[in-house]
C-alpha cells in the first residue's frame, strides 16, 4: 500500500532518521534537487548508511537519484542498490531509452555484486513535455518500471507556464500519465501540493488526483501526509459495500445464478474488481470485516 510518499532531503540526518515516524507509507530520500552539488557525495553516503543501519519500520524507502545526464547517477546507484530500496525514482525521464539506460546499469551492478536481479524497481519521474508525450513507452520500457510519477514543478517550467493551485496547466499531463500507467498495468503517483500551509488546498488537490485514477500522491511536507492517507484510503462505506458485493457473488455462485444484482444494480466484472481492490487495501490497513 503506497498512498503517501514524503520527500526528505538526503543530507539532513534529523529528517532521514525520524522520517519513518511521520505517518507516510513511503519515504523518498532525495539525492537530487534537495542536495547542492557540493554535498552530493555527503548525501549519498548518508542515505546509504541510513538504509544500511537504520530500522525504518514498515516504511517503504524510495531513493531519488540524480538524472542520467549528470555525473552523479551511477555513483548513486553503486552506493544505494546493495541496500535494496523498494524503488529508484529516476528524475527527468523523457523517453523509454532513459529508463532502459538506468535499467541496464542497475542490472550490471546487480550482476557484479551478486544481487537479486530486478528486485529494486524503477519509478520514472515524468517532468518534461517530452516525457508526458512518451508516457506509455516509458511505462512499458522495461519490466523494472513499477510506477510513473508526475513532477509538475519542472514540467510547468518546461511548458513555460505558471504553476497554479487549481492545476489546469497540468490537467493534460495528469490524465495522460494515469492512462499510460493503467494501460501498462502499473501504479501512478501525483505531484506534491506545494503550499504547505494550505490545509484545505491539499485535500481538494488530493481528492482530484484520486478521482482521476492516481494510486497515491507525493508530499514535500509532513503536514500533508495525514490528509493524503485519508483521501487515498477506502471509506468505511466503500469497504462495507465491497464486502456486500463479494457476499452477493458467493451467494449467486451457490445458487448457480449468472446474473447478480445488489441494491437493484447489476454487479459486473469491473465492480467485482474494484471490490476486490478495496478489500485488499482495507486488509492491508488492518481493517477487516467484524
Amino acid at each position: 500500500m503506497r498512498r503517501s510518499m514524503l520527500f526528505l532531503p538526503g543530507n539532513t540526518p534529523n529528517m532521514l532518521i525520524n522520517g519513518s515516524r511521520l505517518g507516510s507509507d513511503a519515504l523518498i530520500f532525495d539525492l537530487e534537487d534537495a542536495v547542492s552539488p557540493a554535498e552530493k557525495d555527503s548525501a549519498r553516503v548518508l542515505v546509504r548508511n541510513t538504509l544500511k543501519y537504520m530500522d525504518l519500520g514498515s516504511c517503504e524507502i524510495i531513493v531519488r537519484i540524480n538524472s542520467i545526464d549528470t555525473d552523479y547517477w551511477k555513483k548513486d546507484i553503486d552506493a544505494i542498490l546493495p541496500y535494496s530500496p523498494a524503488l529508484i525514482l529516476l528524475p527527468k525521464t523523457s523517453c523509454a531509452q532513459d529508463a532502459l539506460i538506468a535499467d541496464e546499469y542497475m542490472t550490471e551492478v546487480e550482476q557484479k555484486l551478486g544481487l537479486e536481479q530486478g528486485k529494486v524497481k524503477l519509478m520514472p519521474l515524468i517532468e518534461t513535455a517530452l516525457g508526458v508525450e512518451n508516457a506509455f513507452s516509458i511505462a512499458t520500457a522495461t519490466k523494472r518500471v513499477a510506477a510513473l510519477f508526475l513532477g509538475a514543478e519542472d514540467l510547468t517550467a518546461d511548458l513555460r507556464c505558471k504553476r497554479t493551485k487549481g492545476g489546469a496547466e497540468i490537467n493534460y499531463a495528469r490524465t495522460r500519465l494515469v492512462m499510460a500507467a493503467r494501460a501498462a498495468n502499473i501504479d501512478v503517483y501525483d505531484t506534491p501540493f506545494t503550499d504547505v500551509n494550505d490545509d484545505e488546498g491539499i485535500r481538494v488537490d488530493a481528492e482530484y488526483a484520486k478521482a482521476l485514477g492516481f494510486t497515491g500522491k507525493a508530499s514535500i511536507s509532513p503536514r500533508h501526509v495525514e490528509v493524503i492517507n485519508e483521501v487515498f484510503s477506502p471509506s468505511e462505506r466503500d469497504i462495507a459495500y465491497a464486502y456486500e458485493v463479494m457476499e452477493a457473488i458467493r451467494i449467486a455462485k451457490e445458487q448457480g445464478r449468472g446474473v447478480i444484482s445488489l441494491h437493484n444494480k447489476m454487479i459486473d466484472a469491473p465492480i467485482v474488481a474494484r471490490a476486490q481492490q478495496t478489500i485488499a487495501m482495507a486488509e492491508e490497513m488492518g481493517i477487516r470485516r467484524g
Binding site: 539532513t12 540526518p13 534529523n14 532518521i17 557525495d41 555527503s42 553516503v45 548518508l46 546509504r48 548508511n49 541510513t50 544500511k52 543501519y53 537504520m54
Partner: protein, 88 residues
C-alpha cells in the same frame, strides 16, 4: 589507499548531525567534542576509529564535533571527510 592530502570537512553543526574535520598528520589523532561526551564519548571515538581503519587511514588528525548524531551518521560524515581529504 591514498593518504589524506588536504584539509577537508563534512557534516554540519545541526542537531542529530556531526561536523568532521580531517587534515594530514603523522600518526592518528582523534579529538571529540560531543553533547553526550560523558556517556558516549568512548563509544563515539571507537566508531570514528573503526571507520578510519575501514578506510585504511593511518595518518590524519580528525576532529569530530558531535551534535547528538547516531552511529550511522557519524560513520557517514567521517567517511565523507576521508574521501574529500583524499581528493576523491
Amino acid at each position: 589507499m591514498a593518504d589524506i592530502i588536504k584539509r577537508a570537512t563534512a557534516g554540519t553543526m545541526e542537531s542529530s548531525d556531526a561536523y568532521v574535520e580531517i587534515s594530514p598528520a603523522e600518526g592518528l589523532e582523534i579529538s571529540l567534542e560531543s553533547v553526550v561526551q560523558k556517556q558516549f564519548g568512548a563509544a563515539i571515538e571507537a566508531v570514528v576509529a573503526e571507520v578510519l581503519e575501514e578506510c585504511k587511514v593511518a595518518n590524519a588528525k580528525v576532529t569530530v564535533i558531535d551534535k547528538g548524531a547516531l552511529d550511522c551518521v557519524i560513520r557517514a560524515r567521517v567517511e565523507t571527510a576521508v574521501m574529500r581529504g583524499r581528493g576523491e
